[in-house]
């Protein structure tokens, strides 16, 4: 098997799992758990393998021609620094969440259906990351979104259905904007291949349509990423889902469908001008502050975490919007870190919900005595998100603030610092009301979560602890290559076309 053949496997494996599970899940006992575990483990291995493979290449890009059709005529799949960075992030989090779900989903009925939707969502996310074709990106984006609408409603309580309905409406509006944008671009450039589109656009002068399309994409992908004026669906949708799905949604879905797609389209296809970057920076800073201020007054643990997702997404967008090497590096690093610690926080909230059947911070307290491991992993995640050294969140926030100062945006830098302090305040509240103080009598019998749930949270906590090491020179190519792809801008077109002809 040729090395380049691993690229379509990122779509094939979860898709196979997704459709085998409803066929065999009812006949063979525990088949669904087995299939999901196996496929996620394989994907994690493959994503790391792809990263190492990419390191051994000089131009750091691999193009797969689906059906043997040379781009721009056929669909291309592109594995470059940014894709492989996102693949590792997504599949790492997904693997931990899958291990966690094996036990956690006992709370709900119909595991096979859950794992079918889970695999479909994963397939959509991997597809969005790996594809080199704009319409294909839309199709995968819809696969992931529709699976996530169904997963938000998985508990089928009135509140969950309402949240899912709201999410579905807002998500469809976002998809329509993206679709209209793609249609306009297709009409303008007569091609759907992302690289070819960038090449054609670079010849067009004074194209006002492109700016209009840029706005459409900003609305569409901004809604998917829950940037502040478009964030209304997130605080309802994320807490309503089962905890493992909240971890997936907050941890990686909004980043893959929102930020990755936004960055790919703005930097590599349209070409980032200062106007776009200023808008991105402003929205990022706004999300940062609004998200964290709204989070401060929440008492529902998962709702609080959902508001923090908005705030942390702001950091990522601010970093990427700076457009400088340091800013983009910091933004991408924060993207990785946030997916790790936010999924850890949601998984911990799931463990608490699993044991106590409540997520109201006013009812809990003193859980450190009965759930010692969850208390420790939650402490690590809280310190990471608040940006306490030596945890990973500290380094990425520091990079973003440095990048702001370096470019002379002292206002944005102070926004980032204020948001970080407010985050710390908010998570001090979480730690205090969850784990310290007197244990209530009705929770005396509570036990630590089952071991498979604990293992996945501990793994994520270790990644949080060691995440800062990714900045070492020997490991820096992991994020450095991803930042390089964005920094190259529309030169992406030349690279892909050259690699495709190889």
């Amino acid at each position: 098997m040729k090395t380049v053949n691993i690229i379509p496997l990122f779509v094939i494996i979860p898709l196979t799992a997704a459709f085998l599970i409803p066929l065999l899940g009812r006949l063979v006992k525990r088949f669904s758990e087995f299939a999901v575990f196996l496929s996620c483990a394989m994907l994690l291995y493959l994503s790391l393998h792809a990263r190492i493979l990419l390191n051994s290449l000089t131009d750091k890009i691999l193009v797969y021609k689906v059906g043997g059709w040379v781009p721009p005529f056929g669909i291309a799949m592109v594995l470059d620094g940014l894709s492989s960075f996102m693949l590792v992030t997504v599949n790492l989090v997904t693997f931990c969440v899958a291990v966690y779900s094996l036990k956690y989903m006992n709370k709900y009925t119909d595991k096979p259906k859950f794992f079918t939707l889970f695999s479909l969502m994963l397939c959509g996310m991997n597809g969005v990351i790996i594809t080199g074709d704009l319409f294909n990106l839309f199709v995968f984006l819809e696969i992931a979104s529709i699976a996530s609408y169904a997963l938000v409603a998985f508990g089928t309580e009135a509140e969950e259905l309402e949240a899912s309905f709201k999410y579905a409406i807002m998500g469809s509006v976002a998809s329509s904007f993206i679709f209209i944008g793609i249609a306009f671009l297709y009409g303008f450039t007569s091609t759907l291949n992302m690289a070819d589109m960038a090449r054609v656009l670079s010849f067009k002068q004074n194209a006002y349509l492109v700016h209009f399309v840029g706005v459409l994409f900003l609305m569409g992908f901004g809604l998917k990423a829950a940037l502040v004026p478009f964030h209304a669906w997130l605080p309802d949708a994320h807490p309503s889902a089962p905890a493992s799905i909240s971890a997936m949604l907050s941890g990686i879905l909004i980043k893959t469908l929102g930020i990755y797609a936004l960055a790919r389209v703005f930097f590599n296809i349209i070409g980032s001008t200062q106007n776009y970057l200023s808008v991105l920076m402003f929205l990022g800073a706004l999300s940062m502050l609004v998200g964290v201020i709204l989070a401060l007054s929440q008492w529902d643990l998962k709702r609080l975490l959902a508001y923090h997702s908005i705030s942390q997404i702001g950091y990522v967008v601010l970093g990427i919007g700076l457009g400088t090497p340091l800013g983009i590096l910091g933004g991408l690093f924060h993207l990785f870190n946030h997916s790790v610690f936010k999924s850890l926080l949601f998984l911990n909230s799931g463990s608490i919900d699993y044991a106590l059947d409540t997520r109201d911070l006013r009812e809990t307290g003193g859980l450190a005595k009965v759930m010692p491991i969850t208390a420790k992993t939650n402490l690590i995640a809280s310190m990471s998100i608040a940006g306490i050294p030596p945890f990973n969140g500290f380094f990425s926030k520091l990079l973003i603030i440095f990048a702001c100062v370096q470019k002379g945006y002292f206002g944005y830098a102070s926004c980032a610092i204020i948001a970080s302090i407010l985050t710390l305040a908010s998570f001090t509240k979480v730690q205090k009301f969850l784990f310290s103080g007197e244990l209530k009598d009705k929770f005396k019998e509570v036990k630590e979560a089952p071991w498979s749930m604990v293992i996945s949270t501990v793994c994520l906590a270790i990644v949080c602890l060691l995440g800062g090491l990714l900045l070492l020179t020997s490991l820096q190519s992991f994020m450095g290559d991803a930042a390089d792809v964005l920094l190259k801008g529309t030169a992406y077109a030349k690279d892909v076309i050259e690699a495709a002809l190889r």
Binding site: K2, N5, P8, I12, L15, T16, F19, L20, P22, L23, Y64, K65, V66, G67, G68
Partner: protein, 149 residues
């Protein structure tokens, strides 16, 4: 099928349905099989196939349609259609590439031509037809469950 007036619509509708439902089904299958030659294909044909079953359900009531295809059979066949499509795509790996058309292309405009395209159309037809029918069935069953409450 029954002319029993207790379930479904009136005798007129039932008689017309009995005459047309086979034709609709056949037309759907025709659209699927000729997908590579004429407008239409797996998706369009699949929708028409699903419509024939929906037609049956509207005229004769839920039980008659379910006796032809049960909910479990529909959902299993739907997954099978997807797996078939994926397997056809994976067969391309034998020739070296995902989705590669490895079968003989034949003469253009003949029914047996275009390699794996008709096979893909058939699997999409199964997937879409049974999938849409399953969605309609789920809505009907949900409505019934709500009324019983």
């Amino acid at each position: 099928m029954t002319t029993d007036s207790k379930t479904g619509m009136t005798l007129i509708v039932k008689t017309i349905t009995r005459l047309t439902v086979g034709l609709i089904l056949l037309f759907g299958i025709y659209i699927v099989l000729h997908g590579h030659l004429s407008p239409g294909g797996g998706f369009a044909g699949g929708v028409i196939v699903a419509l024939s079953f929906v037609h049956l359900m509207l005229a004769f009531g839920k039980d008659v349609a379910v006796s032809k295809i049960s909910k479990n059979l529909a959902s299993n066949l739907e997954s099978l259609g997807a797996i078939m499509f994926l397997s056809i795509a994976l067969l391309g790996f034998l020739g070296g590439s995902f989705f590669l058309n490895i079968l003989s292309k034949g003469t253009p405009f003949k029914l047996f031509s275009a390699g794996t395209i008709p096979l893909s159309n058939i699997s999409i037809g199964i997937k879409v037809g049974l999938g849409l029918f399953a969605i309609f069935l789920a809505l009907v069953l949900l409505e019934k469950a709500k009324k019983e409450k």
